[in-house]
């Protein structure tokens, strides 16, 4: 038994150092309390709803979220807008449908089953409108960046004047958390840029936290279910392990050998 515990320590250490070495940039990101971390981590519903508002009023101008559907906004474990609210949100977008019986394409208000409407027709159009840089799709963005939520949260607040001696091309901005410190996206958030429906003050810090929470949910829509099931599964396994351990002791007591 002692050896097993020792083994798990060694392996745990090995995995952690490996995982750490994978995150190539070792920057100290801004820290905040994420409600969705930990064994019982859950999303803050209010933060998710506000985060959606930031996304749709600010980010969605350039960033698509092509793997999400409007129905997701009303599903359990997400922002959990009511059915009426979700339908209203969907209906506020126009989607291209067709062809109809006459062979014509037509537009109609979006339904719950429609995917999020994309700001640009295609990657080329997105690049053309953004000085050659493609605003990445945000569906799994949090998981696609080494620093995860802390990175996104910091990046949104990391805009500063470039240090003296650093020259920036036109349309390039300085961000102390961006890889190479140069980013084509101008600072997207400023205090009071939007007005929260629930009366929360829309500071840059607050909006960063809300929209990052929303992006985490978008990337991991089943995170709450995963945490809940994980806790039950592990408790079950521990109880079973204890029972099997005592059965094993009993069975092995028949031979003069130790287990």
């Amino acid at each position: 038994m002692k050896n097993l515990t020792k083994l798990f320590y060694i392996l745990g250490f090995f995995f952690l150092t490996t995982a750490y070495s994978f995150s190539a940039e070792k920057v100290d990101y801004l820290k905040t309390d994420w409600s969705f971390k930990g064994l019982f981590g859950k999303f803050d519903r209010g933060s998710l709803q506000r985060g959606y508002q930031v996304y749709t009023e600010v980010c969605a101008a350039c960033h698509s979220m092509k793997y999400l559907s409007y129905r997701n906004l009303g599903e359990k474990g997400g922002p959990e807008f009511s059915e009426a609210e979700t339908k209203a949100i969907a209906a506020s977008f126009e989607v291209l449908d067709g062809p109809n019986a006459d062979g014509e394409m037509f537009t109609r208000p979006a339904k719950l089953s429609d995917k999020f409407v994309m700001p640009y027709e295609n990657v080329k159009a997105a690049q053309a409108a953004n000085g050659g840089a493609y605003p990445p799709d945000m569906s799994v963005l949090v998981k696609a960046r080494g620093g995860g939520v802390d990175y996104i949260y910091s990046l949104l607040q990391g805009y500063e004047d470039a240090p003296s001696g650093m020259t920036l091309d036109d349309g390039v901005h300085y961000n102390k958390y961006m890889y190479g410190n140069k980013i084509k996206m101008s600072a997207p958030l400023s205090d009071g840029i939007i007005e929260y429906g629930d009366g929360t003050e829309a500071t840059v810090e607050q909006m960063s936290k809300d929209v990052t929470t929303f992006l985490m949910w978008a990337a991991e829509p089943h995170l709450e279910a995963r945490h809940q099931m994980g806790f039950k599964a592990i408790i079950y396994l521990i109880i079973l392990t204890v029972l099997v351990y005592f059965s094993m002791k009993k069975i092995w007591s028949r031979v003069e050998s130790e287990v």
Binding site: L4, G148, R226, I234, V244
Partner: protein, 422 residues
């Protein structure tokens, strides 16, 4: 073994067993005499069987929803994660299951190295094991390509390009592997086909591995030949079944922590970016379990020689039974080998770490030293050690060793720190 004496008690059973002796097989498996001093390092064979079955079952389920097409693979994985019922669970089990599989196989291999399980008469078991390990690496590599993320695409590009190092026909082979002039849709579909096929080849080899094991029977921590059945053995069922079961449950707890609480920690963030042939990631790194070999590959300046070194690092294991000249199996009775064994473990861990680091400066230097030592261990130290080493007297039976019946054994027991399983 008592196989021949077995007759089913029922008439139907006897009728069936005379035509297909499945009941005799079942009887052999339950009664199989196993050394009673096996420690927990011996439970990883059972754990590996569990890993293989888990990968096959989750893999079949994923294959029902996955689309092997360059334009749709990434999206279909997101579909599994979002819309398939418990798809996230199945995919995370499968993805982390690969890591758990390798974790278990490394422990299994290093257990064999410590206790000399590869030595006569178990060479065939060992060689089958090495083939399984090679197939596992192929399956894992191709599996990593299927989500068609950035690391999938560039990992596939780097690894398939290794074949271009072969003189004369190299370029042709790479084109043939790709099914075109770059990694693209034909590459993805053939990788999917092979990824689906290999686990079943492994399953067949596992049957042979166990069959070959059941001829001489298990090695044991003392490393001596034992009479079977005797008071040194216990029947496989219930003794080993319950012990393997207990160890498996401990393993599953660790597995569950990864699946439920940090499912992406062992993967690379870049693989959540859809494959893009126009953008090369800053660092292309393989999964953690291939890192030691990646370090060996990069530590040789010449491409062809690098590939040769990497392959030799694995294939050298196949001839290990003949490189190790010592007649004593267990490291418990080989004080010098025991020290070299732990140096080798450290060496492989260092190689793994260097594989994750950029190949430059001090990292590269350490990787080169570690690579040289790896080969030195197998090609020089092991053959010489067999002749030079002064070993500790080996006990005559397991019971003697466990109970400490003779003065010899007191020494043996004192040196047995590694396999005390209390």
């Amino acid at each position: 073994m008592s196989d021949h004496d077995y007759t089913p008690s029922s008439k139907v059973g006897k009728w069936f067993n005379d035509r297909l002796p499945l009941l005799t097989l079942a009887n052999h498996l339950t009664d199989y005499p196993t050394p009673k001093n096996l420690n927990y390092w011996w439970t990883f064979g059972g754990i590996l069987t569990f890993c293989l079955i888990t990968q096959i079952v989750t893999g079949l389920t994923l294959a029902m929803h996955y689309i092997a097409h360059a334009d749709m693979a990434f999206e279909s994985v997101e579909h599994i994660m979002r819309d398939v019922n418990y798809g996230w669970l199945i995919r995370y089990i499968h993805a982390n299951g690969a890591s758990m599989f390798f974790l278990a196989v490394y422990i299994h291999i290093f257990r064999s190295l410590f206790y000399g399980s590869y030595k006569s008469p178990r060479e065939i078991i060992w060689i089958i094991g090495i083939i399984i390990y090679l197939l596992m690496m192929a399956a894992a590599f191709m599996g990593y390509v299927l989500p068609w993320g950035q690391m999938s695409f560039w990992g596939a590009t780097v690894i398939t390009n290794l074949f271009s190092a072969i003189p004369l026909v190299g370029e042709g082979i790479v084109t043939w592997l790709w099914g075109g002039y770059s990694v693209d849709n034909p590459t993805l579909t053939r990788f999917f086909t092979l990824h689906y096929l290999i686990p079943f080849l492994i399953l067949g080899l596992v049957v042979l591995h166990i069959w070959a094991l059941h001829v001489p029977g298990n090695n044991n921590p003392v490393g001596i030949d034992i009479k079977k059945p005797s008071k040194d053995t216990v029947p496989f069922h219930p003794y080993i079944v319950i012990k393997d079961g207990f160890a498996l449950l401990m393993f599953m707890i660790v597995f569950a922590f990864f699946v439920f609480y940090s499912p992406n920690i062992l993967g690379h963030a870049d693989n959540y970016i859809e494959a893009n042939p126009m953008v090369t990631p800053a660092h292309i790194v393989p999964e953690w379990y291939l890192l030691p070999f990646y370090a060996i590959l990069r530590s040789v300046p010449d491409k062809l020689l690098g590939v040769v070194a990497m392959l030799s690092a694995i294939l050298i294991l196949a001839v290990l039974p003949w490189l190790d000249t010592s007649k004593i199996r267990s490291a418990v009775f080989r004080p010098l080998y025991k020290q070299f064994y732990w140096i080798l473990v450290a060496d492989v861990l260092i190689l793994g770490y260097m594989g994750a680091m950029p190949a430059e400066g001090l990292y590269l230097l350490i990787a080169r030293v570690a690579t040289a030592y790896y080969f030195l261990h197998f090609l020089v130290i092991l053959p010489v050690l067999g002749f030079k080493e002064k070993t500790i007297p080996v006990p005559l039976s397991i019971t003697e060793s466990v109970l400490g019946g003779s003065p010899n054994l007191a020494t043996a027991r004192n040196n047995e720190s590694f396999d005390k399983s209390k």
